[in-house]
Symmetry: C2
């Protein structure tokens, strides 16, 4: 596997761990400008901290990246996220024109890419990123499992 892909996902995993320490469901997302290889956004979940139902890691990363490059279209940008995006985040990833989506654990209950609404497979979806699931899948899933176990 491409060494860089694993590196970026490890960065997203570190961000997810930090989110867990803040009491947030541990999900982390990184956006990379593919021309430079530079990480232009790196966010963890903040729904609790911000009292914001939209503050999923992916959404915060998309907002930060748009702000950084001065455009709502993140062309030539890839996203790395530790969990399969939900329908909200998948639709936002499409709106932002993300080139490639790499995700960690699959999410049969809440996912909107391979499960549920399957956002990118809809005829009305204007942009479908290339999708690569299961990158560092076990680490991502274990992080979530441990988080929910300690909360019971």
């Amino acid at each position: 596997m491409d060494h860089e892909i694993v590196d970026y996902m490890e960065m997203a995993l570190s961000t997810a761990e930090i989110a867990a320490h803040r009491g947030e469901v541990p999900v982390g997302a990184v956006i990379v400008d593919t021309a430079s290889g530079r990480i232009i956004a790196n966010s963890g979940n903040q729904m609790v901290g911000r009292s914001d139902p939209t503050a999923h890691a992916e959404m915060l990363a998309l907002r930060a990246a748009g702000n950084m490059i001065g455009s709502q279209r993140l062309v030539d940008c890839d996203m790395y996220v530790t969990l399969e995006p939900c329908p909200m985040c998948a639709a936002a990833i499409s709106l932002a024109r993300i080139r490639r989506l790499y995700f960690g654990a699959y999410d049969p209950k809440g996912g909107g890419v391979e499960y549920g609404a399957r956002i990118f497979d809809q005829a009305s979806c204007h942009h479908r990123p290339e999708v690569y699931g299961g990158i560092h899948e076990c680490e991502s899933a274990t992080l979530l499992k441990n988080f929910f176990e300690t909360r019971r």
Copy 2:
């Protein structure tokens, strides 16, 4: 029709008009705390102005309302929006536990409630608001039509 429903939608329409003056696709969204009848958020599209692909009127209203009431769960809140929400916004409305969704124009191309991903009809959708479409439908649609005609 309930007088208040029309009043709230007219407020959303005014907000959509203001968005058009800023060069944004004219969509407006209002969130009402149903116990008090008070408008707790009122937002128009800001994707261009904020360079933010997620800055749809509904998303900004959800973020503002969560911030105002100090919770990511907007229980006993209703949303009024001039256009059928897209899949991103529909999924966010579900995550926020909005009680009732009133919308203006239907959106066969971009909508995610009655069209496309039909977010609330998915088995994996945990919360489905009551949905009432077509409130002030023509005014909402005309606002959008005029906006795109002047841009050609």
